[in-house]
Symmetry: D2
Subunit: 332 residues, 4 copies
C-alpha cells in the first residue's frame, strides 16, 4: 500500500503511529516535497476511505487486497458436505429444484424426475419486492425440503432471511443460502459466521466483486470458513434479460479467491430459454457448479415458468453439461 | 390492468376465478382471436410476474400502481414528532450531525455549534463493507445521542441494523433510520411496521423508485404509516461522485406518493464541496428536508472529512437554504 | 401491437388513418369505456414513443419487434467472404491480431505465428478518449493490413471512423468494423448500408440489445444485408473488468436475429488473463466467432499488453476452442 | 503523476526517455525495492492505459487531470455570441424551442409566444434509434430555423450529425449542437474544432465526466475554444425517467472546467411534468443555462408531448426561474 501525502506536509507522526499499531512495516521517502510511504503486511486492516478523508493525504494506493481470509493463496477450498464436495477440484455440482416449495408431493416428484442432482433447492422464505406477493410457506416449507432430502438421499439448500430462524435451518438444511438482497446485511452475515453449516452467498444486485468478497470475509472472519459464492446477475441498464449475468466475474473470482463459485442462470436471465446456454457458458468460465430452477409443474397446463425449466429439459441439459465439462477437463 | 392472452387461448376460467377472489371487476373482450381482459379495483394485489409466467398469457399491462397505501391520493402526509412536522406542507426539515458518534462531548459540541437543526443524526451501528472497518459505538452510541438530544432539546435519529435492537431504539431515538443496504431487508421492514416510531427509509443503491415505494408499503402495511423517504444516490457507472444523486426521483415521488421525502447529498456525492449546491438543488426539486453530515472536528488538523462539512460551512449554508426556500415558496 | 386509449376518448379517427396509411390491419374493441385497438402487420413502422406522446393514448404495447430485416424468421444468415463463411451454420470464426497496427514486419510476424486465424484484425484509426493518445497509423495502417492479408492469404478487418475513408476501406479490407463508440452514429451506418463489404457492428457501451439490432437494421435497410454483430461488453458499475461482457446477449440474439454474432473478450474484460475462459464461454453461449487481440510483441520485454495475449497463448487456446466447439457441436 | 514499478525492476531507462521526450520533470526514489517516480508538468500528454499495460509497471497514479485546455485554472470562459453571453459570469441563458422543426409558421408561433428566450432550438437532423422513425426536415429545417431567428432577432442552435453539412450549419446557425450519441464521434469533434461557431456538446449517455471533458478537449485542441457543455442525463438502471439527470455533474464541472455548462431536463427526464422542478434544481446546482423543449402545439388536441412543455407553462416557469436565480445570486 502506498500513501502519498500532500505537497509540503511534513508532520505525519500520527499516521505512522496508526500504522505501527496495525503492525505494518513502513518504508518512507520523499519526492518533490511530497512524503510517500509504503506499507507492507496486513494492509487489509487499513480503511482506505478513512485515510483518504484526511486532509494531509493526497492519494491512497492499494497494491494488495482489502480481504485476506478469502484471498486465493495458491490453494482452493473444497467444501465437503456428506458425500458431496464443492470447489475447484471437486466434481461439477448440480443444485436444482423449484423456485418456491409448494408441497411435499410436487417437490418429491420434481426431485425424482431429475436424472442427477446433488443438492435440492427450494424457497420457503421468498424475499418479494411487493408485500402483496406470496412470501413462501415459511418453516413448513423448510420441513418439506428436509423430508424430501431425507427420502431421496440428497443434500438440501434454502434461503434464510431472519437470523432468528437459524437454529431451525441448521437442523433441517445442509447449506444455508443468503439471497442477493441480503448480501450486505452484515448483521446476518456475522450471525451466519457462527454457524457450522456452509453458506451459499449470492452476489448483491449492485455489489462489486470486491464488496462481494468482503461480504464473504465477514462470514469467514466470524468463524465459518465454508462459503460458496453464487453469481446471479447484476443490475444494469439492459432490460431484455432480468439482470446481466457476469460470467467474467466467475473467471476473475478464481484468480482472487479460494472460495467455490457457482452460477445461477435462472435468476440472472429470468428466461428459461437462455438457461441452457448460460449453464454451459458458466462451466467454460470456470464455475464449480450451477443453481437451476427446475420444476415438474412447468410441463402442465398451468405455467411455463418464465425462468424455470422442466425436468425433461433439465435431463437433456445434463448430457450437454457432461460434454462441456469434459471439454474443459472438469470432473462431472 | 389489462391482460392479453395468447392468440387462440380460449379457456381462461382459472384466471378469472383468481381475479374474482381478489375482488377485482373484470371486463372482457376479444380482438383478432386474442382474449383481452381489463381488471379494475385493487390491482396492486396482483403479482405481475406471477401472471406473466403463465404460458397462456402474452402480456400483462399495468395501468395503475403496484402500491396502494403510500400512493398519492390528493393529500400529502405530514408527520408530527413532538414540535416538528415533516412533509410537503411542513417547514423544510434540517437533519444534521456527524457520520459516526464518537463521544458525548464532540457530539454536543457539534450540535451546539449549528445555528439551527431540527433532528440530530449520528451513526452508532455503521454497516461497513469491510469487517475490518470501525463499526460504530453500538448501543453506547445510541445512548449518547439520546443524552445530547435531551440536553439540547432536539429530536434524534440513528440507523438500526438488527431487529433485536428495536426496543432500545424506540426508547432512545425519535426517528429510526433504515440504511440503503437494508432497504430490501423485508424482514426488518416488517418488524419496523410494528413500531410506533417514524421510519426514515433510505433508497437502496440499485433500487428502482417502484421498489423503494414498495419497501415503504411493507412498513405501512404492517401498521406504521409514518415513513420518510430519503434519496441518497444510486449506483451508476460514474465514479467521480460516490453515487449519482437522483433529484428527478424527488420530483417524481411527489407525484407518486404521499410520503415526505428528504435528500442526503453527503452520502450521495461523497464530496463535501458538492454538498452545498446539491442541498439547494434538492430544495428546488421539491424535497421536504435535508440530511447532512456535519462535524465540528473537520475544522481541526485531523481531517477535512471527504463528505462531512464543518459547522461553519453548515451555518453559512443555512442562509442560502432560507433564500432558496423562499424562492420556491417553501416554509423554512 | 395493442393501443389502449384513455378512458372516455372516443374520437380516434386521426390515429386510425395514420395506421391505415402504414397498411396495418386494425382490430377495435372497447372495455370499460376504453377503446382498445390491435394492429397487425408491419408494426415495426410504428414509432412507439411518438404514439405514446399523444394525450389520448394511455398505453402502447408492442407484441412484436421494432425491427424487421434483421429479425430471426427461421433461418440464419451465413455471410460468405472468399473462402470463409460466418454465421450460425458456418465454422467457428477466428478473428485475431494486434490492437493497433504498428509496422508491416510486426504484423506479419504476429500473423505467421498464429497456428490458425480466419481474419486478421488490426486498428489503423483508433477512437481514443484523449486527443493526446496515439490515434493509429491511419490509411498507412490500412495499407499494411492489406499487404499482410495478401501475403498470408487471409481476410482482413479494420475499424472505419470517417465515411470519407469508405472507398479506401472497400479497396483494402474484407470486413469493415464499426466500433462501439460509433454504433449510434446513424449517419455512418447509412453510408455503410451502401457498401458491398460486410460490416462488423460492435455493440455500443450503453446500447440495449434492441438499439443494437436497430443499428443493424439501419445498415440492412440501406442496402447491405451482411452485418456481423459483435458483443464487446457493456458499461456497468463494476470496475474490476473494463466492461461487463454480456454473454446472455449472445444467446438472446440467436433467438431474435438472423445475423451472425461474434464476441470480443479482449475489449470487454480488458484483462488478458480472462480472455481464455471468456472465449470458451462465448462458444458455449452460441457465438459464431471470436475477436481476439493477439500480438507477438507481448512476449518481449516491452509490454505484457493488459488485454492482449501472446501468439503462444493464442495457439494453446486454439486447442481448447476446438474441444469446446466439439462439445457443443459447433464446426471448427 | 506517480508511477510505481514492480518490485525488483531496475531498468527503467526506456520509460525515463519517453517522459523526457514529453518534457516532463522527473523525480525518482525507491521504497522496499520498488522504484517510484513522480512526473511533473504536462502529464495530460501521458496515456495512463498505455503505461499501465507495461509489465514492469505496477501502478500509475494520476495526481492531476488528463485534460488541460478545458481545465479550470481560476477563471471561467464566457462565450459571447452577438448580444448574448454564456458562462459562469453571464446571465442565465434560456435555450428553448420544439423538439423537431416542422414548419416556419409553427416555429414562429412557438417563438413569439415565449416571453423570453435567448436561443431558439429545434431539431432538423434527428438521430433516431429506428430507421423507420421520422428523421427531421434536414437542411430545409435548418433554413426555417435561420429565418425564424432572423425574423425574431434570436440566436439559433441545431444539431449536426454529418461533418459534410458543416458549411451550411455555419451559415445558418449561431451555435452547433453535438448530440449525446455523437459525443464520442471524435472525427466529428475534430472537424468542429476547425469551426468558428460555438459548439454545444451534450454528454454521452454513458460518458463519465472525464470522458466528456476530454471530448471537449478534442474540440478546443483543434482550434475552437468555445464549447458549451450540456448535461442531459445518463443511462442507469432506473426506468421511470428516461435517463437519470446528473445534477452533481453540474457542480463538479464548475470545479473541474472553465467551460459553461447548461442542463437539458426535457431529454433527461422524458417527462414534461418534471421539467419545471429540474430546471430550478439545475439553477441551484450552478448551471449557466437551460435547454428546454417548448412547443405551442402541445396545447392543442394533437399531443401533450411527453417531454415538451407548452409556451404557457414555459412563461410561468420563467417567473420561478427568475426567483431562484435571485436566491442563488445569479444574473437573469
Amino acid at each position: 500500500m502506498i500513501i502519498v501525502f500532500k505537497k509540503g506536509v511534513t508532520e505525519i507522526e500520527q499516521f505512522l503511529m496508526y500504522f505501527k499499531n496495525l503492525s505494518l512495516d513502513i518504508f518512507q521517502t520523499e519526492l518533490d516535497n511530497q512524503i510517500i510511504i509504503k506499507l507492507v503486511g496486513n494492509t487489509f486492516m487499513v480503511d482506505d476511505n478513512f485515510l483518504a478523508s484526511f486532509k494531509d493525504i493526497e492519494k491512497v494506493i492499494r497494491l494488495d487486497k482489502t480481504y485476506d481470509l478469502v484471498k486465493y493463496k495458491g490453494e482452493y477450498l473444497n467444501i465437503k458436505i456428506k458425500d458431496i464436495s464443492i470447489g475447484n477440484d471437486s466434481k461439477f455440482c448440480l443444485i436444482a429444484g423449484p423456485c418456491a416449495i409448494d408441497s411435499y408431493d410436487s417437490l418429491l416428484e420434481t426431485t425424482t424426475n431429475m436424472n442427477r442432482v446433488d443438492v435440492i433447492r427450494g424457497g420457503a422464505f421468498k424475499p418479494r419486492k411487493s408485500p402483496y406477493s406470496f412470501q413462501g410457506l415459511g418453516l413448513e416449507g423448510i420441513k418439506i425440503l428436509n423430508q424430501v432430502g431425507k427420502k431421496t438421499n440428497h443434500l438440501v439448500i434454502s434461503e434464510i432471511i431472519n437470523e432468528s430462524d437459524l437454529k431451525y435451518f441448521e437442523e433441517n438444511v445442509d447449506i444455508i443460502q443468503v439471497g442477493a438482497r441480503n448480501m450486505d446485511n452484515y448483521q446476518l452475515l456475522k450471525v451466519l459466521g457462527k454457524s457450522s453449516k456452509p453458506i451459499l452467498l449470492k452476489r448483491g444486485l449492485s455489489a462489486s466483486i470486491e464488496e462481494w468478497l468482503l461480504a464473504a470475509e465477514y462470514i469467514v472472519k466470524n468463524g465459518n470458513k465454508n462459503v460458496i459464492l453464487c453469481e446471479r446477475g447484476i443490475r444494469t441498464f439492459e432490460t431484455s434479460t432480468r439482470n446481466t449475468l457476469d460470467l467474467s466475474a466467475v473467471s476473475l473470482i478464481k484468480k482472487l479467491s479460494n472460495l467455490p463459485i457457482v452460477v445461477d442462470p435462472s435468476h440472472a436471465t429470468g428466461r428459461y430459454d437462455l438457461v441452457e446456454q448460460m449453464t454451459l457458458a458458466a462451466i467454460a468460465a470456470g464455475a464449480d457448479g450451477i443453481v437451476l430452477e427446475v420444476s415438474q409443474d412447468v410441463e402442465g397446463l398451468k405455467s411455463d415458468g418464465s425462468q424455470t425449466i422442466s425436468c425433461k429439459r433439465y435431463n437433456n441439459l445434463l448430457t450437454k453439461i457432461k460434454k462441456v465439462c469434459e471439454a474443459v477437463e472438469r470432473d462431472f
